[in-house]
Symmetry: C2
C-alpha cells in the first residue's frame, strides 16, 4: 500500500552519505543535549559530568556468520564494539542495554551462550547490564546494544579538535581482524566444498581472536589519566585507519601526514596477508574492526608518549586544505582515500 | 562449528521466562546503577536527578507488516513505544538513539519516509535524536530505539510500590490497537485473494490509528505534576491490561480486583470486536499495544481523580496472596490470567 514516486538506491549514497542525509533534519530542543549525531558517542549533560551514549547493531549475515562465530564470542563482541565508542570519547563505560532478536531455531541453551559472552564482557569492563528487549525474529539473529558512560566535562575528547603540528597516535596494531575474517571465510568455502574437511586454523590464533573476540582499549584511558594527557581529538578504528584519519581531518578542519613504516602491523597479519596476496597496508588502512584508538595530542606531549608499549606515533596533523597523505620509505606521498565499508554495496 | 548438548525450545519458556533466565546473572558493579532489568526503564544516577533508559526493537514480520504499515507511521511508532516506557516511570523523555537495519530493497526515499516519522515523533514529544547506527540488513527492516529521559529522584514511579486499598487507574481506552490489527490482517487476506480489491477501511479510522500510529501518554505526567499526585506504582500497557496488572501485583507483592464495567473500551473497538466475534473484553485484557498508562494511587487521592476526562478508576489493590480478579456486573469473580504475548510461540 506504500509506493515511492522516485527510487534512489541506498548504495548510491553509501553509509556515510545516507547518515548525512537522514540526520540533517535533526534539531536540538533539549538543553541537556550537548552534542548529538556525528561522533563516536552522543554527549548529554548529567550533573557535574557528561553522560556518553553510543548504540550499535550487529546483524546475522551482515556483521557475523553463525557458521564460524561462536555465540559466546558474538555476545562479547556486541558489547565491546559499543564500549569502544565510549572509550573513544575518553570516557568510562558504566551501563549497557541489550536488544536481542532470536529466530525460533535458537534453543534456550544457545541464548544462554550469547548472554554468557555478554556477561563476560560486563565483568571484564565492569559495566552493568541494565535492560533491553527480547523478541522473536523471522530473520536471523539481531543484537542491538546501547552503551552509557561518563566523562569529566573537561576531559571529553571529540573527533574534532586536532590542530596543526599535533602528533597522530594509534594503539595496538591494525588489519588483524580483517585478515582473521579472510581466514574464516576461506575455511568456510573449503568446508562447503567438502563437509568432511577440518578447518585449518592453526597459527592464526591472534588474528582469529581479533576478529571474533576483540577488546576495547580501556588501558589508554587510564594511561591518559595517569600521565595527565588530554587528547585533542579521538576516534575508534572500526572502519579502517584511512576512514578514521579522514574523519578526524574533516571534523577538525585540518590535514594529516602519516608514515607508512610507522603503521603498526602484527607479524601474523603480515604473513597471512602475504598468503592471501593482500597488501598488509591495505588490510591496516581499509580492513576495519580493529577497535584500536586513534588520537591526536599536542606535539609538546611528545616526551610523555616515548617508549610506551603498544602506542605508536604514526604522523602529524597538517594545515587545513593540505589534504591527507601517506608517506612511504622513499618519501613519496600518496593521498589517503577511504574505501571504508559501504554497507549497502551489493 | 557451534553445537549444543541440549536443546530447549524458546517457546517452552516464553518471553518473560526467557527474560528471567537470561537476566538472572546480572550483577551491579556500578554505583550509578539504581535499578536495572525488570521495570519499564532502567534508572541511573545523574547528578541531582535520575536518568531513565529504555530500549525496544521492532522487527519486520514480527512487530509490523510492510504491506500495510506506512513507513512514516512505523518510524513514529518505533519512537513512541520507547517514550511510553519513560512516561511509565513518571519521567520526561529527552533523547533517543535509533539503530536501523535496511535491506537493499529500500530506496533512499523510503528511508527518508521512516525518518520523517521519527522526526515527527521527536517534534511532537520534544526529544532529540542524538545518534544511532545505520546498517544493511539481509533480513528485513530492523528498528531498535533507545530512549533516555529524566525524573526527579522523589518522583520516580516503579512497577513495585502498590499498597493494599490503593486505587487502580488507567488512561484512555483499551483493545483498540488489537482490533485495528485484526482489520488490517483481514484486508491483507482479501487483497492476497484478489489483488484488484480495494481495502475496506472506512469507519475504522480510530482503531487503525491506534495500531499504526499510537501516542504515548505525556498528558498524565503533566497532570500528576499539576495535581501533585505521586503514583505508588506505574507501567505502560504494551502486552494487554491483564499482563500489566499481574506485573504490578507481582512487583508490589499485592493482589488486585478490577471491575468489568469499568474497563474503558471505545465504541469502535466494541463494534469491530462484535464483527469479528471477539469478546471486546478479551481485546482489552489481552490485546496489547495500547500504550496507555496503568497506575495506582493511595485511596486518599480519590478526590483529585474525580471527573478527569480520559482517566478511569478500574479497581483497587488487595492484600498479598489474595490473587488478581475481575468482577463482573453480577458480582462474579474470575481470576485474571495473562496470555500476554509469547513472542516465541510458533
Amino acid at each position: 500500500m506504500f509506493e515511492n514516486s522516485s527510487n534512489t538506491d541506498l548504495s548510491a549514497l553509501g553509509e556515510f552519505g545516507l547518515i548525512d542525509q537522514i540526520t540533517a533534519p535533526a534539531k536540538k530542543v533539549q538543553q541537556s543535549t550537548i552534542t548529538g549525531v556525528g561522533d563516536d558517542a552522543a554527549v548529554i549533560e548529567a550533573g557535574d559530568r557528561y553522560l556518553l551514549v553510543s548504540s550499535d547493531m550487529l546483524l546475522e549475515g551482515v556483521h557475523f556468520d553463525l557458521s564460524y562465530a561462536p555465540l559466546k564470542h558474538l555476545g562479547y563482541k556486541a558489547v565491546v564494539v559499543n564500549l569502544s565508542d565510549i572509550y573513544a570519547m575518553n570516557g568510562t563505560p558504566r551501563q549497557i542495554t541489550v536488544n536481542i532478536g532470536l529466530s525460533s531455531k535458537f534453543s534456550v541453551e544457545a541464548v544462554e551462550e550469547i548472554y554468557a559472552g555478554i556477561y563476560m564482557a560486563c565483568d571484564q569492563y565492569q559495566v552493568d547490564l541494565i535492560g533491553g528487549d527480547t523478541t522473536a525474529s523471522k530473520a536471523g539473529l539481531v543484537l542491538s546494544v546501547t552503551a552509557m558512560g561518563t566523562v569529566d566535562k573537561d576531559k571529553v575528547a571529540y573527533r574534532k579538535g586536532a590542530k596543526e603540528t599535533d602528533l597522530i597516535c594509534v594503539t595496538g596494531d591494525l588489519g588483524a581482524a580483517y585478515m582473521g575474517l579472510q581466514v574464516l571465510e576461506r575455511e568456510k568455502t573449503v568446508f562447503k566444498g567438502n563437509p568432511e574437511a577440518q578447518p585449518d586454523l592453526e597459527g592464526f590464533d591472534y588474528i582469529l581472536e581479533r576478529q571474533l573476540k576483540p577488546e576495547a582499549q580501556r588501558g589508554l584511558i587510564e594511561f591518559f589519566k595517569e600521565r595527565q594527557i588530554q587528547p585533542t581529538s579521538m576516534i575508534d578504528v572500526s572502519d579502517g585507519l584511512a576512514s578514521e584519519l579522514l574523519h578526524l581531518c574533516k571534523a577538525g578542519e585540518v590535514g594529516c601526514q602519516v608514515y607508512m613504516q610507522k603503521i603498526p602491523i602484527d607479524h601474523t597479519t603480515a604473513q597471512t596477508a602475504d598468503e592471501f596476496n593482500i597488501n598488509p597496508l591495505v588490510a591496516a588502512m581499509n580492513g576495519g574492526e580493529d577497535y584500536e584508538l586513534l588520537f591526536t595530542v599536542p606535539v609538546t606531549e611528545h616526551e610523555k608518549l616515548q617508549d610506551v608499549p603498544g602506542l605508536h606515533i604514526i604522523g602529524h596533523i597538517t594545515e587545513n586544505g593540505s589534504g591527507a597523505f601517506m608517506v612511504d620509505d622513499a618519501g613519496n606521498k600518496s593521498q589517503i582515500t577511504a574505501q571504508g565499508w559501504n554497507a549497502f554495496a551489493q
